[in-house]
């Protein structure tokens, strides 16, 4: 999956992990405060020095979720689900898409992991790969 690219604007924030269809989250970390930042940025907004970019596993737990049922943007399917995910590997709560087959099974605190997944279509009508959270099989809660 090394040639995988996401829609423009997402490739600085998500990186296929090279393991199956797994996907890492790229976050910023600055040693001035040990704080993590997402989306990643080049410079720390506190000490203004360059910041380290760290890949984190896309494993986490659902903090909040909703299913959007009308007027899906960006060629996304209708309905589609989005939410906030608490990452396991850093104190970060990030926004993300959920897989189509996860829509009906979403619950607060359920385990999810990020995978490279075809979801919806791009501007030319072709299937579009995106970083998408899936329910982690058999480990609910």
């Amino acid at each position: 999956m090394t040639s995988t690219t996401f829609p423009l604007g997402l490739n600085d924030s998500f990186l296929p992990s090279g393991v199956g269809d797994g996907c890492d989250v790229l976050v910023g970390r600055c040693h001035c405060s040990e704080r993590y930042f997402f989306p990643v940025r080049s410079y720390c907004p506190e000490c203004l020095e360059p910041m380290e970019v760290v890949p984190l596993s896309g494993r986490g737990h659902v903090y909040a979720f909703t299913t959007v049922r009308r007027r899906a943007p960006l060629g996304l399917p209708e309905p589609y689900a989005v939410g906030y995910i608490d990452l396991d590997d850093a104190p970060l709560r990030i926004f993300g898409l959920f897989a189509a087959d996860a829509v009906e099974g979403l619950k607060t605190d359920i385990k999810v992991d990020l995978r490279v997944t075809a979801l919806g279509h791009d501007n030319s009508g072709e299937p579009c790969l995106r970083p998408v959270f899936h329910l982690s099989g058999g480990q609910h809660g």
Partner: protein
């Protein structure tokens, strides 16, 4: 701090004005506010114009000069303001500060927006924001807050729907509101689901419209007369924490705290509130942030009728964004116009008796699970 007074207020009916331009609507509201203030246009010393979409939809920029020159307000400092839903209250904040600083004795604030056009499209947190690229749309960001609030506090779908029902009942007697026909909880819940748990009738309608205010210094207030005093005017922005709390909106609480502090009063002194009910859950969150009830109690507050006309502290007596409609740049000025009219006793069948203090609260634009902008103003009828 120097006193600032509201000398004049004007608002045109919100709705679909297919044949009218932003300039035509804004100028009408400005004329109403100037006549209400009894001030000749040449006496105005600073102008602040709020609009969000004119550049994107029509390719127009610096529209404020076009609007204000229509009412003879020329040759003075004019600032065009964009701060999403809080554009109008940000323009108000700037006007208040222009007077407080002594730079002007009379300032005009106009907000105008035209949204009923085919090219409007979807509103989102900004075309290049990462959340937008991952499918965030405005209803989704509020739906996520609603889902989390229900999860943590047991807030119910019925309570969310009650916000829409109450505000529609209030709008029945507001001639500028888009929707004035009463609705039931059943109708709200049966309307199409937009983003779970928010249905269409829990989402504010787009609208065209304009509203305006004329502000006075103490000196101008003595000359022209004014009854409504600005007790505080706060503009603050988000902190964008790494783990945003969707059930307790810190920026909202902070804005409220600063406004009470500047006014030297507390939530128990407030007699009415106009707040940013772009979606039903918004009003519940803002009631909690403004201290009208404890965190988590906002659903019960509306269910118990505390925030209805006739209740302890009516919220959105105008009908709110949910019924009046939400022309982005005009909305926060409209809120201030409603509070002004209420405190002057000019709102007819939706009048709140003996009100001394009223709040206009607004929030604008998502970023990283927070709001980019929050405004809270407290107005007093001068006795307080």
């Amino acid at each position: 701090m120097a006193e600032v007074w509201i000398g004049g207020a004007g608002i045109i009916p919100f709705g679909e004005h297919a044949t009218r331009s932003i300039v035509s609507m804004g100028a009408e509201a400005a004329r109403m506010a100037l006549r209400d203030a009894g001030v000749p246009p040449r006496e105005v010393q600073a102008g602040f114009f709020a609009n969000v979409l004119a550049q994107r939809l029509f390719g127009d920029i610096t529209v404020g000069q076009n609007v204000l020159s229509e009412v003879g307000v020329c040759g003075l400092p004019i600032v065009n303001v964009e701060n999403a839903c809080t554009s109008g209250s940000t323009a108000f904040f700037l006007a208040v500060n222009a007077i407080r600083s002594g730079q002007a004795d009379i300032a005009i604030v106009v907000g105008a927006e035209k949204m009923h056009v085919p090219q409007l499209g979807l509103l989102n947190p900004g075309e290049t924001a990462i959340d937008t690229l991952l499918g965030s749309v405005v209803p989704a960001s509020f739906a996520l807050r609603a889902q989390r609030h229900m999860h943590e506090y047991g807030t119910t779908a019925h309570q969310l729907a009650m916000v829409s029902v109450k505000n529609r009942r209030h709008a029945e007697h507001n001639p500028v509101a888009v929707f004035r026909k009463p609705i039931t909880v059943e109708q709200v819940l049966a309307s199409p689901m937009i983003a779970d748990p928010l249905t269409r009738l829990q989402s504010c309608p787009n609208a065209d419209g304009a509203a305006a205010l004329v502000l006075f210094s103490e000196k101008a207030a003595r000359r022209y007369g004014a009854k409504i005093r600005v007790a505080s005017a706060i503009l603050c922005t988000g902190m964008y924490p790494p783990q945003p709390d969707l059930a307790r909106w810190e920026t909202d609480y902070r804005g409220a705290h600063l406004a009470y502090e500047e006014a030297g009063i507390g939530p128990e002194d407030i007699n009415l509130v106009e707040c940013h009910d772009a979606f039903s859950i918004g009003e519940i969150l803002h009631c909690e942030a403004l201290g009208l009830c404890a965190p988590g109690e906002g659903g019960r507050l509306v269910e118990d009728g505390v925030t209805a006309l006739g209740g302890r502290v009516p919220v959105n007596p105008s009908g709110g964004l949910l019924s009046r409609g939400h022309p982005l740049g005009a909305t926060a000025v409209a809120q201030l116009v409603e509070v002004t009219h209420q405190l002057r006793g000019q709102t007819g069948l939706r009048q709140i008796e003996n009100a001394r203090f009223g709040i206009a609260q607004c929030m604008g634009a998502d970023k990283d699970g927070d709001a980019k902008s929050c405004t809270v103003a407290i107005l007093s009828n001068g006795k307080g």
